[in-house]
């Protein structure tokens, strides 16, 4: 048993080949873990042994290998958004919208006149300070959701339901933005708020019908007024025209009356002039002419001798009830 035990060391170890293999693996993995790319819209935050080292701009970058340096790449130039009370398809980040069952609770709010409203809105923001974003608050975007809800309720709580739904929208957006920005700065989230936009803002569903009724009533009021105006406009101008017509006609009459009188007077005057020259003859002529004209038109004509006038009662004037007796 004193035969020596032969430990067989493989040829390649004896040649030191394994060492070379290890070195090769080390070099290759070192090369792989020491390069990284920062996309155009992003910035990289480099940590060495967990400590902040620097922030780098887009491009192909190098770092210390084997986990000595660690890089967080953040899309600082991308505008991100969060939706409250609703959700659109295609999320740009995990915090874009909340779970379906919390959405109703998210949007129902109490207004300053102690009514209720359902408010949907979006917040548009950017990562403005990557270092704060990463190291100051755990889950900064989740925090932003909380702050945004709180701020929107603060602002809506200071307004009446009519302001919230119709007339005060822009003011709400602006005030909410300012308040949100100041809180985000206070918390040092490393986020910059671009804007807040209100989306659908409605009264709660059970109340909606009565809000519509108000709109309808408003329309109805306009309609009633318009109809009355229509009636007014249908009658008054026509009546004005008719009145004008009557006045014009009377003015015509006036002209006619005056002109006729002038005409009558003129003819009278010329006749008078003739008459003055020979009054007796003219008078006789006129009388006879008239008689000539009048006599034939008349019915019964009875000429009595003056002395026989007593028989007059005997004559039967039966043709007509009227008679004329001239003496």
């Amino acid at each position: 048993m004193n035969e020596p035990i032969e430990i067989r060391i493989p040829e390649f170890i004896r040649n030191g080949l394994i060492l070379w293999v290890i070195i090769a693996i080390a070099v290759i993995s070192g090369a792989i873990t020491s390069t990284y790319t920062v996309q155009a819209e992003s910035q990289g935050v480099v940590l060495r042994f967990g400590k902040y080292l620097k922030t780098v701009e887009p491009g192909l970058r190098f770092k210390a290998p084997y986990g000595v340096d660690k890089v967080y790449v953040l899309p600082v130039r991308r505008q991100l958004k969060q939706e409250f009370g609703f959700a659109t398809l295609g999320a740009s980040n995990n915090n874009q919208f909340s779970e379906p069952r919390t959405r109703t609770r998210e949007k129902s709010m109490v207004t300053g006149d102690l009514n209720a409203a359902e408010v949907e809105w979006i917040v548009q923001y950017r990562i403005s300070d990557p270092r704060l974003y990463l190291f100051n608050v755990l889950d900064p975007e989740g925090t932003l959701r909380y702050v945004s809800e709180s701020v929107m309720r603060t602002v809506v709580g200071d307004r009446t339901v009519d302001e919230v739904i119709t007339i005060g929208r822009q003011e709400i957006e602006e005030e909410a933005r300012d308040r949100l920005e100041s809180l985000v700065n206070k918390y040092e989230l490393g986020i910059g708020i671009d804007q807040i936009q209100l989306q659908n803002v409605n009264p709660p569903p059970p109340v909606q019908a009565s809000f519509n009724e108000v709109n309808q009533a408003q329309q109805e009021r306009e309609r009633m007024i318009n109809e009355a105006n229509g009636e007014y406009n249908q009658e008054v101008p026509r009546s004005r025209g008719v009145a004008d017509q009557k006045i014009q006609a009377s003015e015509g009459y006036a002209l006619k009356r005056v002109n006729e009188s002038l005409g009558d007077v003129a003819s009278f005057k010329s006749m008078l002039a003739e008459y003055k020259k020979a009054p007796e003859i003219t008078r006789t002529r006129l009388y006879l002419e008239s008689m000539k004209e009048v006599m034939p038109k008349m019915g019964k004509k009875i000429i009595l001798d003056e002395d026989a006038s007593q028989i007059l009662p005997l004559l039967q004037l039966n043709d007509s009830g009227t008679g004329a007796l001239a003496r």
């Binding site: 006149d113 009565s210 008239s290 009227t322 004329a324």
Partner: protein, 324 residues
């Protein structure tokens, strides 16, 4: 063989380095413990640090602000309105040693926060009326849509407040922050996230909203009817005015014209005795012409100027026919 020795040396060196050092991240702070007992000051500076291998244990503690999301609790305000209130807070471990000794981990910290913030919120809410928790700025006056809300009671007006939501939040914050410093916890902020009516209150609120809107709608309708009536009234008035004015004007014109014509006639006919006589004469003849017609019977005697010649040939007509 020299290279083999070198390789072994390098590997041993790496292992020793690994055992004697630890990394503190930007988001961490570390307390070293030796058999469970803290050693030295907490390490808050990020980077590479040294320790004794095997006997010193690394306890990592969050350095960032951490979330606390309160449960949605039903509570009563001073005016006995039941609300469901949802709060949130952000806090951080400001004194790691204190925190480590008293709480040790986040779970127990959060449960302590639940207790303290929950009770402080409840106290604050119970001390104030509902509107104080809803509204914020005391001096804000609501913009109103005059068209909509004028003349309808309190619609479109904000309830006035003495304290306001932010002050209530501050109250909770101050009280809770004081209680939490003992645990090495710094409170950054506490706020109401959501405030909602509970189910029964909500139904009442909805009923009130509906009745308010119905009032507004009714007012619109009656306003419409009123305006329309006004317009119709004005129409009648205007029609009467137009018609009567035209009547008046027509009568004036007639009168004026008749007067003028009379004046013209009078002036001409009455200019001298002769003209008056002549006028009477021809007017009488004219009247005969108009008055006498076929249904008139005429009885004349031979004495009349016209037929005198039937009896006598004496010509004395002119004196007989006098313009009387």
């Amino acid at each position: 063989m020299k290279t083999q020795a070198l390789a072994i040396l390098i590997i041993l060196g790496a292992i020793a380095f690994y055992l004697c050092t630890y990394v503190v991240k930007e988001t961490d702070q570390v307390i070293l413990t030796q058999f469970g007992k803290p050693v030295g000051e907490p390490v808050t500076e990020a980077g590479l640090h040294y320790r004794l291998p095997f006997i010193q244990e690394v306890n990592r503690i969050e350095k960032r602000f951490l979330p606390w999301d309160g449960p949605a609790n039903e509570m009563s305000t001073k005016d006995k309105t039941y609300l469901i209130i949802d709060t949130y807070a952000r806090w951080r471990i400001s004194d790691p040693m204190q925190y480590f000794l008293r709480l040790r981990d986040e779970r127990s910290a959060l449960s302590r926060l639940d207790d303290i913030l929950g009770s402080e919120t409840r106290n604050a809410v119970a001390k104030h009326e509902l509107i104080e928790i809803v509204r914020t700025s005391k001096d804000r006056v609501a913009e109103t849509d005059k068209l909509l809300t004028e003349g309808i009671g309190k619609v479109g007006l904000l309830y006035s407040i003495k304290v306001g939501r932010e002050k209530v939040e501050e109250e909770i914050f101050k009280k809770a922050a004081a209680k939490l410093t003992g645990f090495g916890i710094e409170l950054l902020d506490v706020r109401f996230k959501r405030i909602n009516y509970n189910e029964t209150v909500r139904r009442r609120i909805y009923e009130r909203m509906v009745s308010e809107r119905q009032q507004i709608a009714a007012r619109f309708r009656s306003e419409g009817a009123g305006e329309a009536a006004k317009i119709i009234g004005k129409k009648e008035r205007d029609l009467q005015e137009i018609e009567s004015e035209s009547y008046k004007r027509v009568q004036e014109i007639y009168g004026e014209a008749d007067a003028k014509a009379s004046a013209i006639y009078a002036e001409a006919y009455d200019s001298s005795k002769m003209s008056a006589e002549f006028y009477k004469f021809i007017k009488t003849l004219e009247t005969y012409r108009d008055v006498l017609s076929s249904d008139v019977s005429l009885v004349l005697t031979t004495d009349s100027p016209l037929f005198r010649l039937l009896k006598s040939t004496e010509v004395s007509l002119p004196s007989a026919v006098s313009a009387d």
